[in-house]
Symmetry: C2
């Protein structure tokens, strides 16, 4: 005698409901996973609850033992440690063997430290940073750079299928995924800083910025970041999608990585200085394209025409 | 030298039959224009002649008076001046009013000087650098960044239709087209240098380079140059498409432009130093991706495994 029972759903908690985490959580719901949300911000929890989450909370310990997988998408290594091992940390409450996908951008060394702590609780970790931005996260189409045991990746497959368009298996060692993400961020950060330098020089030269944008995006000087971020400069709208301070952090990780490997990264070091200076000038929480605010002596869209300082905040 | 003339009403000479010029000349032939070629290299002249050119030569003075337009595609400003005003220069032999499209990458100041000299002979100039590479040139699909009188552009229309996919009208002033091209080259050069830095760091970190390439080209860190040039590094093949020394020149023009405008271009200045160093190390005539040869202490595809100097030439 058989009963027609729907297959038992896959239970996943998403920790960190920022623009990427919220998009990933919504993609899990859309894929039919039993989805749980953990964040410090009540409005994010309410939004995910309304979208159909099984349970949400600032404290996930009550439902930790029901989970088949955990996805960590906070900003940095410290937040990962706190979410897993802090006063409200869920790691000690997970069933042994529950796979933990760690997608914060952090150093390979931090990824290894987290892995050691998880391993002590028999919790397998996937070192799996992501790229793609909030729009692709909401569509379930992010890119994942994963390293770790292939058995761990296999057990995370329902989650990966829900959130990712592409999963790159970098290698078996924890830290390799983080290293690839950091090298990726080298390019992303340098491209934004170079895009800003080119637009600033065009402004100084009296070239219409929309014309420069149209030329570059149809020619060999284009980059994903130029095409995606420079419309913010054209509109004079620095509402943050990803902030200046994110690249202060991520290019800092590039320099840490170079230092650990005794390897020079001169362009990343310069771009880091430019983001640092923009942050110190008061633009840290603005969109990363606000690195163009480093340049004085130009007029940009949205500037007060009587102010040629570059628009001090 | 052939003397058969097709029944086309529009006669155009292409000066400088390098990879871009030869592609443009072939596109003119394909479009049915009566096409003439001028170059110092006999093998280039022979190739264009066999492709159906009306006439070719190291000296174009004999057919100058039959031309409806001239396209200059040599490497730099000095070659433009020589081709027009040197001992074999054709400018004094053109009919007054013949439009001259100048597509070398040169400073706005050099473009203006050339315009002054042409104007004295009643020859209207279009300041019209191009982008797109040799493949798109051969397909008649380059991008043109044009400035000058719209009447000059109108008279060059049969030529532009033959060679270009897009023609951006930057503005009415000679020098604006050159400035946009130079700013474009800022991005192109920085992107190649950043791509090299990222691949070098990946090599040092033990990340498979093909994996990094696959991740970056499917994520937000991508650039046209990363995608186009890094396969040369993956193959260890530095056969020049565009050389290190081209970016020594073009990023030098970026710095000259910044100096003329009293405007800082820190990332371009650093990238220029990296291309200069690669040139001094003996890689000047290799593909521009050979800027990665600046980095010692790594193994790259094609390297002698016993040599960790970075592959001295």
């Amino acid at each position: 005698m058989s009963t027609t029972e729907p297959p038992s759903p896959f239970h996943v908690a998403v920790i960190g409901l920022g623009s990427m985490g919220m998009g990933a959580a919504r993609s899990c719901l859309r894929a039919g996973l039993a989805t749980y949300g953990i964040d410090v911000r009540q409005e994010a929890l309410d939004a995910l609850s309304q979208a159909g989450a099984t349970a949400v909370g600032t404290d996930g310990r009550a439902f930790a033992s029901r989970l088949d997988a955990v996805l960590l998408l906070p900003v940095n290594a410290a937040q990962c440690r706190s979410a897993l091992f802090g006063p409200l940390g869920i790691a000690p409450h997970l069933r042994p063997g529950t796979p933990v996908m760690v997608s914060a951008t952090q150093s390979a060394a931090d990824a290894c430290r987290l892995n050691d702590a998880l391993k002590a609780l028999d919790l397998p970790m996937l070192d799996a940073p992501v790229s793609g931005g909030s729009i692709r996260a909401a569509e379930g189409r992010i890119t994942v750079m994963a390293s770790g045991a292939s058995s761990t990746l296999a057990r995370l497959r329902p989650l990966l299928d829900a959130i990712a368009a592409r999963v790159f298996e970098i290698g078996p060692d924890i830290g390799q995924g983080s290293t690839v993400k950091i090298i990726h961020q080298l390019l992303a950060g340098v491209h934004i800083a170079a895009a800003a330098e080119s637009m600033a020089l065009a402004s100084r030269a009296g070239i219409p910025l929309q014309t420069l944008y149209d030329v570059v995006t149809s020619a060999a000087g284009n980059s994903w970041m130029f095409e995606n971020r420079m419309p913010h400069v054209l509109k004079g709208d620095y509402t943050p999608h990803s902030s200046v301070d994110i690249f202060v952090k991520d290019l800092g990780l590039v320099l840490d990585t170079g230092q650990a490997l005794k390897f020079p990264t001169p362009i990343a070091a310069l771009a880091h200085s430019l983001f640092l200076n923009a942050s110190n000038a008061g633009y840290g929480q603005q969109d990363d394209s606000a690195v163009i605010r480093n340049y004085a002596g130009i007029q940009l869209p949205g500037d007060d025409p009587d102010d040629v300082t570059g628009g001090e905040p």
